[in-house]
């Protein structure tokens, strides 16, 4: 039970980060972006690439942090992967979504996002291969925190939680304290009024892609640290990310965070009562229940 709770919080943290970008883009650009989870893959794989590159260039960076499987090079690679993913998100927007935004309807954008997801997934498979990979070759051992109740924690997992908390705190302070944060929230709530108040909408859309992409990259890397890298990780996460965003209410960043934890916990705790094979159905159920009871989500505005 305690173990399930811990695992749920861990998965929830990763889903929260992934859902933040999804909900922001979905609200500002008014379309369900089914390729958002691929940004997690781009982040995870570019970290793998940067990690390998850095270790090849400067072998000393392969130095590990005590007890963690995390190396110095991977830590630097995380930052580089965030930038890379943000830029990829903008590139995808430029090449695909921006044109459709100007010339086509929202449904076309949804279909296009399926296409983008397929392309990204397969390009990653082409470059990195289809087999599952890990950041380090060594296995980090879990520490038995307590035997009764049973609780196993890998130091890497604590790192994952720590990074998530720091990122969320940084995002919260940005949104609640800085004029830039007010502008992001303003664009998310009412793009027309935001423009009338002097906000350059295209600039804010670019910033949203960068921030959403960078946070997605971290989510992807943390997911890969906790599980493994695989070209289809995005596909496996898409439904959970949408569940998190929908539970929280589309457009609400705090809702996405709470939704992520709820979906993570529900999926993890469900393992105690339903066979593991049914686990992928849990996000579906959560979406259905949310749409039935509270169509706008926990923090969503009525429309």
């Amino acid at each position: 039970m305690i173990q399930s709770l811990f695992d749920g919080i861990l998965v929830g943290a990763i889903l929260s980060l992934g859902a933040i970008g999804l909900t922001m883009i979905m609200h500002i650009l008014r379309f369900a972006n089914f390729s958002h989870a691929e940004l997690l893959s781009i982040g995870a794989y570019s970290a793998l690439a940067f990690d390998g590159l850095l270790q090849a260039l400067v072998p000393a960076l392969a130095q590990k942090f005590p007890a963690l499987s995390l190396t110095v090079s991977l830590l630097i690679a995380i930052v580089l992967a965030m930038a890379m993913t943000g830029l990829s998100a903008i590139a995808i927007d430029r090449l695909v979504f921006r044109r459709l935004r100007e010339n086509a309807g929202p449904l076309t954008m949804v279909f296009a996002s399926f296409g983008v997801a397929l392309i990204v997934r397969n390009v990653i498979g082409l470059i990195f291969g289809l087999r599952a990979q890990h950041y380090g070759s060594d296995i980090a051992f879990a520490i038995l925190v307590s035997a009764d109740p049973f609780l196993l924690i890998k130091p890497d997992q604590l790192f994952v939680l720590g990074v998530t908390l720091v990122l969320m705190l940084a995002l919260h302070l940005t949104l609640s304290r800085t004029p830039f944060g007010f502008a992001l929230r303003a664009v998310s709530e009412n793009p027309v009024l935001a423009q009338v108040n002097g906000i350059n909408l295209n600039r804010m859309i670019r910033m949203t892609w960068i921030i959403g992409g960078a946070i997605a990259a971290v989510a992807g890397i943390l997911y890969a640290l906790n599980n493994q890298l695989s070209p289809v990780m995005g596909r496996d996460l898409t439904l959970s990310l949408f569940a998190a965003a929908i539970v929280g209410g589309i457009g609400s960043i705090y809702g996405a965070v709470l939704g992520g934890f709820l979906v993570g916990l529900a999926s993890s705790l469900a393992l105690l009562v339903v066979p593991a094979g049914y686990n992928p159905a849990i996000p579906f159920l959560i979406i259905l229940v949310t749409l039935y009871l509270r169509p706008n989500g926990l923090f969503g505005e009525a429309r």
Partner: protein
């Protein structure tokens, strides 16, 4: 009615000539409209539903597609500029509804709206709180929790905080209590007294005409009548059609 001379003096602050604009290209709602507003002048647009009143204001604010004609502000052509560029140019637009950011606090709304100012933003925000004491008391609460009147005051404060030279208002008294509506109208007078031009669309035409210098009557996207507000207020035809005043039938 006094028209500005075509040459000589610098001309009106806002000059709209032969404007054609609408939401869908090829389907203009505003079809050949000409309007001007002098510095410190209050001008009201009246007309039946669908006459193009709101569309005109949105066109000036950069929110609808302009297909013909021109809009000049302070002498320079601003037609086709983006809304945020127009805001930087000194145009403030107060929409009829959804005119504040409900998820932001009162103060955050004002700080956000003041960002386009180069100078002392904090001072301007404080100046708005001096002007609207109600808002100062509620600076930390979310704008979504304000009453209709307070929300309207915040919307106007957001327009004024950036020191605009032209304020566009779409039905500023709609849905307000009579007292709150009176306060808003009085406020519009004091805005204009500072030299700011005000262009107003108002359902409550009678009340709006009382505070206006001039007015335009639109029909089907075109100019129908124009003149000094007092004259239109007393014009029996305008009264009957647009102001809901019953003409006294001679016995």
């Amino acid at each position: 009615m006094i028209e500005h001379p075509a040459n000589g003096s610098p001309g009106p602050h806002l000059q709209v000539r032969g404007l054609i604009a609408g939401y869908v290209p090829g389907l203009p709602i505003v079809r050949d409209l000409s309007v001007h507003v002098g510095a410190g002048e209050i001008v009201t647009i009246i007309g039946p539903n669908g006459a193009g009143k709101s569309t005109l204001i949105k066109a000036i604010a950069g929110l609808v597609v302009i297909e013909g004609g021109e809009i000049r502000l302070g002498g320079s052509d601003i037609s086709g500029a983006r809304p945020d560029q127009l805001a930087d140019h000194g145009i403030a637009y107060v929409p009829q509804s959804a005119n504040v950011f409900q998820t932001l606090t009162v103060q955050q709304n004002l700080v956000l709206a003041s960002q386009r100012l180069a100078g002392n933003r904090e001072g301007r925000v404080e100046a708005m709180f001096d002007l609207f004491a109600d808002l100062r008391e509620r600076r930390a609460i979310r704008a979504g929790g304000l009453s209709g009147g307070q929300r309207q005051m915040l919307a106007i404060a957001m327009a004024l905080v950036a020191e605009p030279t032209l304020v566009l208002m779409d039905e500023p008294t709609a849905g307000l209590s009579p007292r709150a509506a009176q306060e808003v109208l009085a406020l519009i007078r004091s805005i204009a007294a500072e030299g700011v031009s005000v262009l107003l669309v108002e359902q409550n035409a009678k009340a709006a005409l009382r505070i206006s210098d001039r007015a335009y009557v639109l029909a089907e996207g075109r100019n129908q009548l124009q003149g000094a507000a007092v004259d239109l207020l007393n014009d029996p035809l305008v009264g009957e059609i647009y102001l809901g005043v019953r003409r006294t039938v001679p016995s």
